[in-house]
């Protein structure tokens, strides 16, 4: 409410009604479309929840409805997609989590030497690091995964003789290996960008205090660089989660793999819808949590 004018006691006139501009009409139409799509999606998926809904409502129903509900629960065959494949999706979720977690961890470890080599003054270090980063950022993740999983099969005798064949035979190890190499390239670029962003005075100040270079790097530069790198790191995690769907193509049963299996058995399109719901929930949750973390860690920089 708008307060009346203290001297005259008059209220200002009400705001004129908002006109129906083209933008407003378009917005309402599009929103209506989204709402219709959302409702039909829920209606499409609700069949899965008939049984739990009926069970949950059972104690609150009037007597004659309750007998009907009991009869339904006993005689009706509830053949729900979720009941059959829900557990599989949870397993797939755990596999996705493992792949992403391990790859990000190994990638982070690998990215530090690459970033250092990349920003080195000596060509001997910087040129190979540049080539590595360029290769892994310039080619599709799917092609890289194929190159490692199928391609290294060409060297089977050699790999067997050095005792590494068990590693490259296993699809899971190969995927983690390929994803780690890939994300290491991206993380190295993030790290390098962040380190170069730190003002030169920080290095000089640390040198003036008598700190040697490694200590300066790990205690002065890196903490500040990581702060700058927080947002791109968050994006990289999300990219990795989305990219991990590729693992399904080389027979890993992650979320996407379980989805493909469920679809090939039932030809029920729900399989893909549930996968979409799961991925969206993961990514959105992560994005929001990451925003909170970033706000918390950079609270001293707020003005």
């Amino acid at each position: 409410m708008i307060a009346p004018n203290p001297t005259t006691g008059l209220k200002p006139p009400p705001a004129p009604p908002r006109p129906w501009t083209n933008a407003r009409i378009a917005g309402h139409v599009l929103m209506a479309l989204w709402i219709v799509a959302g409702i039909s999606l829920v209606a499409y998926l609700i069949g899965n929840l008939e049984k739990p809904i009926l069970e949950a409502l059972r104690p609150y129903l009037p007597a004659d409805w309750a007998t009907w509900a009991d009869a339904q629960l006993e005689t009706h065959e509830f053949d729900s997609f979720l009941e059959r494949y829900g557990a599989k999706y949870v397993e797939g979720f755990l596999v996705t989590l493992q792949i992403v977690g391990l790859s990000l961890l190994f990638g982070a470890l690998l990215s530090i030497p690459i970033a250092l080599a990349r920003s080195s003054k000596w060509k001997v270090f910087s040129a190979p690091a540049y080539a590595y980063v360029y290769f892994f950022r310039g080619t599709p993740l799917l092609a890289q995964t194929f190159l490692i999983y199928y391609g290294f099969g060409s060297f089977r005798p050699e790999l067997q003789s050095v005792g590494l064949w068990w590693f490259f035979r296993d699809a899971f190890y190969c995927v983690v290996f390929a994803f780690s190499l890939n994300t290491a390239a991206y993380q190295a670029e993030i790290l390098r960008g962040a380190i170069q962003n730190i003002a030169k005075g920080q290095w000089e100040g640390a040198a003036a205090l008598g700190l040697n270079r490694p200590v300066t790097f790990f205690k002065v530069i890196l903490p500040q660089a990581l702060m700058v790198a927080l947002r791109p790191y968050g994006n990289e995690i999300i990219l990795m989660i989305k990219g991990s769907a590729i693992a399904a193509i080389i027979t890993i049963y992650d979320i996407m793999g379980e989805t493909r299996r469920a679809y090939s058995r039932t030809y029920d399109f729900q399989a893909y819808i549930w996968a979409a719901v799961i991925y969206l929930m993961i990514v959105e949750t992560l994005r929001r949590v990451w925003d909170k973390i970033e706000a918390r860690l950079t609270r001293h920089l707020k003005r």
Binding site: A143, L147, Y150
Partner: protein, 237 residues
């Protein structure tokens, strides 16, 4: 070594021409996706930039969905979803036939959805870089809203959005590899077939990676030139 060269040669014994066809399909898929992605992305950015809350919300829902879904899943959703949807529709109309969606078209739709939602962010941040006075100047000259947009805002917008769009183009080029999983004979699929038949997977997948790399290099060089061209009006420093 000689063996490898024979395998890669053009003609009877080599896989050169098959792979070259694959490269052409990869390039044409990304080129065909680009205009749709750009136009939809621009419209979404306009919607996000408008003062109308409902329009903004609708656009945000779109980008949240297609930025959050894995590209591979979007592709499968489009490929199977369109197929099932069309089949149901025809069933309602009384036809009972099996339809298969063309994988090129499905790939184009899915990649346009993904590309446009990312492009809208690029355009949106470019919009923020154009001061309000540019619009006001346009209106003061008596130009209509549409003319102000196309003659004054858009040229500056493209210049500001170009670096981000260049990155998105590279991502698009890489994402086309995913379409091989729904049966489009693009570069990756042709090399997979060659690898399986000749039992030389490292050679062929390595080659595929190098070709993607070469495409990326060519694109970056092209983008550098386009960027220089778009900045030709700026003061030389």
């Amino acid at each position: 070594m000689e063996e490898a060269l024979t395998l890669l040669s053009f003609g009877e014994n080599g896989w050169g021409d098959t792979i070259a066809k694959g490269v052409l399909i990869t390039i044409s898929l990304s080129l065909a996706t680009l205009p749709f992605g750009l136009i939809i992305g621009f419209l979404i950015a306009l919607a996000k930039n408008s003062s109308e809350p409902s329009l903004k919300l609708a656009a945000n829902i779109y980008t949240t969905i297609f930025r959050g879904l894995p590209e591979l899943l979007t592709l499968f959703l489009v490929f199977f979803g369109v197929q099932i949807g069309l089949q149901q529709l025809l069933k309602l109309m009384g036809f009972d036939i099996y339809i298969e969606v063309n994988s090129f078209v499905a790939g184009m739709i899915a990649l346009s959805l993904v590309f446009s939602s990312f492009a809208s962010e690029a355009f949106l941040s470019a919009f923020r870089g154009i001061p309000q006075g540019q619009y006001e100047g346009g209106y003061a000259l008596g130009l209509s809203r549409f003319k102000t947009m196309t003659l004054i805002i858009l040229p500056q917008l493209i210049r500001l959005a170009l670096p981000a769009l260049g990155n998105l183009w590279l991502i698009l080029l890489k994402d086309t590899a995913l379409v091989s999983t729904i049966g489009l004979s693009d570069l990756l699929r042709e090399t997979s077939i060659a690898a399986r038949v000749t039992k030389e997977p490292f050679l062929f997948f390595g080659l595929a990676c190098l070709i993607y790399l070469a495409l990326a290099m060519i694109s970056s060089a092209a983008f550098t030139r386009i960027e220089r061209w778009s900045k030709r009006g700026e003061v030389q420093r």
